[in-house]
């Protein structure tokens, strides 16, 4: 126990300043009203769905919870059920074998159902493209609010994407 505490004290707090929203990632015009944005800004819940990534994007989503990015510290939490989620974070192209599961997850998510597509694959199909087994971009299957390019996008870029989706800047009142 002593060693464990010593290690915690020695390492100290590593969390860095959060990045800003980036409007260039926005696909759909902001569709949340100020009240919702204010609430989400305090406690946002995210459900991650992987309908076909190479698993590279997952590594960076995991990194969001390391002490440097400390996403939970911003009040943003990953949840185990779509029913508790405000946002779906979707990685990879959509494999046809996962299309139905993705649609079902979306259907189970309560409004406002923000969708953020992660990575070049989520944006466009990436290196896999569209084929007999693959639908390509997430937007081919679901309405997407924000896309975050990169292969994989850095944790900072993913945070920017999430924050863009819930930022009010271009927010038109719903």
């Amino acid at each position: 126990m002593y060693q464990l505490l010593k290690q915690i004290v020695k390492v100290g707090i590593k969390t860095e300043a959060r990045p800003l929203a980036d409007e260039s990632m926005r696909v759909l015009a902001g569709r949340l009203n100020d009240e919702v944005l204010r609430l989400l800004g305090r406690a946002l819940t995210i459900r991650h769905v992987d309908p076909g990534s190479c698993n590279g994007c997952e590594l960076e989503i995991h990194a969001l919870n390391n002490p440097y990015y400390n996403l939970e510290g911003l009040g943003i939490k990953f949840v185990a059920s779509p029913r508790h989620a405000d946002m779906l974070l979707v990685t990879g192209p959509v494999a046809k074998n996962m299309e139905q599961a993705l649609r079902r997850t979306y259907a189970a998510t309560p409004e406002p159902k923000l969708v953020v597509a992660i990575g070049d694959c989520g944006c466009s199909g990436g290196v896999f493209g569209e084929n007999y087994a693959c639908r390509g971009a997430v937007a081919n299957v679901l309405p997407v609010d924000v896309t975050v390019p990169g292969c994989p996008p850095t944790p900072t870029a993913i945070m920017q994407g999430i924050l863009t989706a819930i930022s009010g800047k271009a927010g038109t009142k719903a």
Binding site: Q3, Q7, G52, G56, L59, N66, P67, K96, M98, Y132
Partner: protein
Amino acid sequence: MEISAQPVPGAVPAWRKQVDAERWRTLAEQLLSAGSRLGALWASDERDRGGGYLLRALYVIFEGLLIAELRVDPALATYPDLSDLFACAGRMQRAAFDLCGMRAVSISGEIPDVRPWLRHGAWPADAHPLHREHALSQPHPQTEERYAFVPVEGEGVHEIAVGPVHAGIIEPGHFRFSVVGERVLRLEQRLGYKHKGIEKRFESLSLAEGIRLAGRVSGDSTVAYAWAYAMALEGMAGTTPPARALYLRALFLERERIANHLGDLGSLGNDGGLAFGLAQFSRLKEDMLRTNAALFGHRYLMDRVVPGGVAADIGDSESAAILAEGERLRTELRTLRAIYYNHAGLQDRCITCGRLTPRTAATLGVVGLVARASGHAIDLRVHPGHPPYGELQPEIASHRNGDVAARIVVRFEEAFESLKLQRRILHRLPTGPIAASVCTPDEAAFGIGWIEGWRGEVFVALEAGPNGAIRRCHPHDPSWQNWPALEHAIIGNIVPDFPLVNKSFSLSYAGQDL
């Protein structure tokens, strides 16, 4: 080695051998009794060249690799089953039917398992995407197909089905547990959800372009796949990468191993009730990724291995920075290892949990770190080895217990060993160019790549088409062998321990779904 086998040029010792159906089977029996393993099995369509279908089985023999090649008459489209000899053949044979339309038939004339594996209804049973006439983007109506899970009956037995979408940030797959109370009687996996046509997609690319896709078969092993692909292509083209490039590839591969082991050690601590571990290891991993980004231009080193060499070089100051980082990491790892090994709660969760005995591991042909934690000292870097590992003299980490605790020990030991190799690489880094040019291989040239990635051995088999096109590319992930072993390791454990056991295997869905 059989006299009639023909050598495959390249960095690893490999031979190929044409066999008939009878020899396909007797060779397998003979290799099994000699202690060889089945590394991979895949099918191709050669009808356009008058060769019918072509099935290949890649064996890991003492001397290296032996690839048995069987021509299959398309009118019959059957071949002798190997799954009774090599259990891991079962799923690969089912995948070969889904993609290329030929069936394994047992000695008694039965089809051992008719259920599809990669085909879930995205294409009909009579369409086979790897047939030459099947277009890459051929449209098919989506059908919904029921999958026949094996029923388990008995008093008090009930089923728990999870997935394909899991709670947590993980890849999709389906797990069906048959349990009594909390105890697992049986686990059946269903995978293939992420199948996205990778092998067919390769055939629309040139040999030069293919490496980018190879590096994205399983993103967490991008260096291993890219190197395996490059090795196959260089073998076909008769190119030997410069010594400096090979050392830098080894540096990338060992850094990939360390980063993944750090990530898993953190998650294992967390799943074992020590959240402290996740915070500590994820910080150490992030430090490494940032160094990768600063020095090599990519956090996971994607696209840094290129045909003929590498795409990133370092100077003396970068080398010194990596060495200093390595020293810091070694000190921190020692501290964390002591905390993990002395933490009664964590040890209590991990010792005897999810045990894979050496015997079961051998029967299932398990590979990589899971094999090493179950008493099998197999590691390609050590034997038969390939440049530059002969000069680096890596040592194998292994353990006999085969439980979660053993898989944690092996990860710690391998991380220390990789740090040692990193020091050797940087101290001995040869001078000179970092890439050689790769000429276009002749049509029908065949190459093989074999790399010991952090998870286990990765293969890439590559064939050239005309004018530098890919005719066929088959990437093989070690998860093919290790997924079935997880079904065994969980038996008798309680359901709440599944995440911990699953994490200790840390297998790729993307890599096996293709």
